[in-house]
Symmetry: C2
Subunit: 183 residues, 2 copies
């Protein structure tokens, strides 16, 4: 890339992200790039396509303030500092749904939006998931997250009808389905 | 959804987006939701998986300031005010690559990130694309966007290796591939 950051200014700092305005120069001739650009820094994210031992998809229904509606998505969230992404995926799955992963595999790492986001999305497939006897997480009780299990046929219909609301969740599902077919 | 927006404050206004902080209340009991939330307003986006008449994928390589690197993605961009999303998709394809769509079909509408983004991503499959005789767009000359055509086999390898950098582009590709198989 022929551009470098010449100057940056923090516009907003919140507990979960930082928004920055940057001025760029062209490396080749040191000329300024005309417009300012914006970069949104957040910790990296995980998203998990989780299947029960009888191959049902484990999804979460939750209120989302961007869309201002209940959404149906995969479990997922932010990776803690110094946390391994696969560990974060298993943790988020269990915290949000109560299910523990039998095995967990990476199906890809990608930018959620390379134009503005500086972080990465780590996508995982979790198979043979089960509700452990020492279950500690009961997300239904919080009323914020509801757990839904769908057969793969039901999931296909739901996706076709636009019932999976989050692009990053939909991508994790499709990458996982391809991974299962190819491995 | 049991939450409503009680108050909002614009934190940042730029030509391409607005960042807002919102306070929420629970509809059921009018109690405030503890934390502030953030909403990023931008116009809705289109992303196009475009295939030439001989079934090569038309991709763009461009500098992206979030990732601060050259990325390989689908053509795409913002929908103009009052513009039909399918028209925007055909326009962005032609502006960014020079190719004109023979036919264009919707493969889905989804939120790019329902937690913070208020807009939508409209995904299209453009088939039978060709370089028209009255070609007006020569993106190679601008040095910002380079056009790459890949066979579907090459695209599969590229995706598997993480060579498609944008989650929204990867989703558009996989939704389009499914659409082709199912229709």
């Amino acid at each position: 890339m022929d551009w470098s950051i010449e100057q940056k200014k923090v516009l907003v700092q919140t507990p979960v992200f930082q928004l920055e305005e940057v001025s760029l120069v062209q490396n080749s001739d040191q000329k300024p790039v005309p417009l300012p650009y914006y970069r949104l820094h957040a910790g990296s994210w995980v998203n998990v396509f989780a299947l029960t031992r009888d191959s049902k998809a484990i999804l979460v229904r939750q209120p989302r303030v961007g869309m201002m509606q209940m959404t149906l998505e995969c479990p997922g969230g932010g990776i803690d500092r110094d946390e391994d992404p696969a560990v974060a995926a298993a943790r988020e799955l269990e915290e949000e749904t109560g299910y523990r992963a039998g095995r967990i595999e990476s199906v890809g790492v990608i930018s959620p939006n390379p134009a503005i986001m500086t972080n990465r999305l780590h996508m995982y497939l979790a198979r043979d998931c089960y509700l452990p006897e020492d279950r500690r997480h009961f997300p239904d009780l919080t009323e914020q997250i509801e757990v839904r299990t769908l057969s793969l046929e039901e999931l296909d219909v739901t996706m076709k009808e636009g019932g999976i609301h989050n692009a990053l969740a939909a991508l994790t599902i499709l990458m996982s389905r391809r991974f299962i077919l190819q491995n």
